[in-house]
């Protein structure tokens, strides 16, 4: 139950990271998006998503199943007997609901500062309400990937890549922010507050204790403590990796890169947090940190404009983490690598296709992007009729 609260606070972490790395003129818009995603995420998951994701034995096929609208308290749902004495139906649901909104939040970061609010909200509703639970069901709901032997402890693929794929597609369909790629050169659009981003990253790390710790589901102290240790070490190693690589490559102590590295380490360990030893976790994190730096550079060169590094963190490191289950730790082996690849591919294909269809339809109908004028003058003034900060200077005399 505590873990639910911790995962909840991750949404604040995402929001702060995101506003810190973007410009002040779009701050309210981003906060608005993130608050609405959380609200919509919880509600759609209540009424549709949970039943889609955990259809239960009676309704499930391998690819798709649906139990019923709303929540239906099972016979022994209120007592821990629901899950062999470990947790109750409602605990389970709420924890999952907090996860669900994460997928859309990831997208939110990548499309920040130029997407239309209404479009984004519609997309999120569909994605969180339908696409994410279906993909999740394939593994966690007992679908075909689960039967195959694909392993994803807490969602490197099922949560992070699901968000990451949608982020890639939307960034590609949206195009870069005005001024990001001027005359073929990559320009710099600085975020407006590094401190806010740092707070965000800390809160995400904090929340990840709940994200991974809670995913043990059984509250078995042995496994949970192992999971927390691997999570933490991988996060630290991710930061270290990003620091080393970005220092060696750019001779620059770039804090935002280290923060991304920490998150990369967290995403990387998520798939196999309960399988790894200390050294495994360290290596997974270190490599994830390095991946971040290269991935951020590569995306820039591919003219995919991702203001907060969401794709690098969640997709690149999500894939890496899922693969790592086959490389390090107690499940390592060629056949597992293959299983992991199939899982990554299947989910990737599904997410790419579905988000392309949704976004393409939206583009043809209500449009994806705000007008050029709105973008330049800031979404806050146009969509919210106010600005995030007023009169920061303090009155005296």
């Amino acid at each position: 139950m505590i873990c639910t609260a911790l995962v909840f606070i991750m949404h604040l972490g995402f929001s702060l990271l995101e506003i810190g790395l973007t410009r002040a003129k779009n701050t309210i818009n981003i906060l608005f998006k993130n608050v609405m995603i959380l609200i919509i995420g919880i509600l759609t998951y209540t009424f549709v998503g949970f039943s889609l994701m955990y259809p239960g034995a009676d309704f499930a096929g391998g690819l798709f199943g649906f139990a019923n609208f709303g929540l239906l308290l099972p016979v022994d749902g209120l007592s821990p007997a629901y899950a062999d004495g470990h947790y109750t139906y409602y605990t389970d649901f709420l924890f999952q609901a907090m996860f669900a909104a994460t997928a859309a939040t990831i997208v939110s970061g990548a499309v920040a500062e130029r997407i239309k609010l209404s479009t984004f909200l519609i997309f999120s509703t569909i994605y969180v309400g339908i696409i994410y639970p279906i993909a999740g069901m394939w593994k966690w709901g007992g679908g075909f990937l689960d039967e195959l032997g694909f392993y994803d402890f807490a969602g490197s693929t099922l949560v992070h890549s699901v968000g990451g794929w949608a982020a890639v597609i939307s960034v590609a369909l949206l195009g870069p922010r005005i001024g990001k790629f001027k005359d073929g050169k990559i320009s710099v659009i600085q975020g407006h507050s590094i401190p806010l981003s740092t707070v965000g990253a800390f809160l995400l790390w904090f929340g990840w204790f709940g994200f991974n710790g809670g995913s043990v589901l059984s509250a078995d102290p042995g496994v949970t403590s192992l999971v927390l240790v691997t999570t933490c070490i991988s996060a630290a190693a991710g930061g270290l990796g990003a620091f080393l690589v970005s220092y060696l490559r750019y001779r620059d102590n770039d804090l935002s890169m280290i923060l991304n590295g920490v998150l990369g380490g967290l995403v990387g360990i998520t798939a196999g947090a309960d399988l790894m030893g200390i050294t495994d976790a360290f290596l997974i994190g270190l490599i994830a940190g390095a991946i971040i730096v290269f991935s951020v550079g590569a995306l820039d060169r591919m003219k995919l404009d991702d203001p907060v590094g969401a794709i690098s963190v969640h997709l690149s490191c999500g894939i890496w983490g899922t693969l790592a289950v086959g490389i390090f730790g107690s499940m390592a082996g060629w056949s597992q690598i293959l299983n992991q690849l199939i899982g990554i591919g299947a989910i990737g294909l599904f997410c790419v296709t579905s988000s392309f269809i949704i976004l393409f339809t939206l583009r043809k109908t209500i449009g994806l992007r705000v007008t050029e004028r709105e973008e330049i003058e800031g979404l806050d003034t146009h969509e919210h009729g106010t600005t995030a900060y007023t009169a920061l200077s303090v009155e005296e005399g």
């Binding site: 200077s393 303090v394 009155e395 005296e396 005399g397």
Partner: protein, 112 residues
């Protein structure tokens, strides 16, 4: 045309603005500056008492036609006044030419 630069107390800004409005001077630009002058403020910060003459002020830049000059100054002198040290200053200088970007008008008609 004249440019009036008035450096006033921030707490007087609302009054000044309303008074300018009444004489139809409803076009100007302002920003916040730090003023160094006769007024001093005493403060205590973490146990150290100190006094500073750097005080936040508001700078108003108003370009007016010559025949508006006098009454604008008068309004400013009246409404920005409290009588205690630190009420601020008004400086007047000459503007050679003015343009309204929207219409490309020049001269006094471009001011309002």
């Amino acid at each position: 045309m004249k440019k009036i630069e008035a450096i006033i107390r921030k707490s007087k800004f609302d009054d000044v603005k309303d008074a300018l409005q009444e004489i139809n001077v409803n076009f100007f630009s302002y920003w916040d500056v730090t003023g160094v002058g006769n007024e001093k403020h005493g403060h205590v910060y973490r146990g150290v008492a100190y006094s500073t003459s750097e005080i936040q002020r508001r700078m108003l830049s108003i370009v007016v036609s010559d025949n508006f000059l006098e009454k604008t100054i008068k309004v400013l002198l009246e409404t920005a006044y409290t009588g205690t040290v630190g009420d601020g200053k008004i400086f007047v200088s000459t503007i050679d030419e003015a343009y309204r970007i929207r219409t490309k008008e020049t001269g006094t008609t471009s001011l309002s």
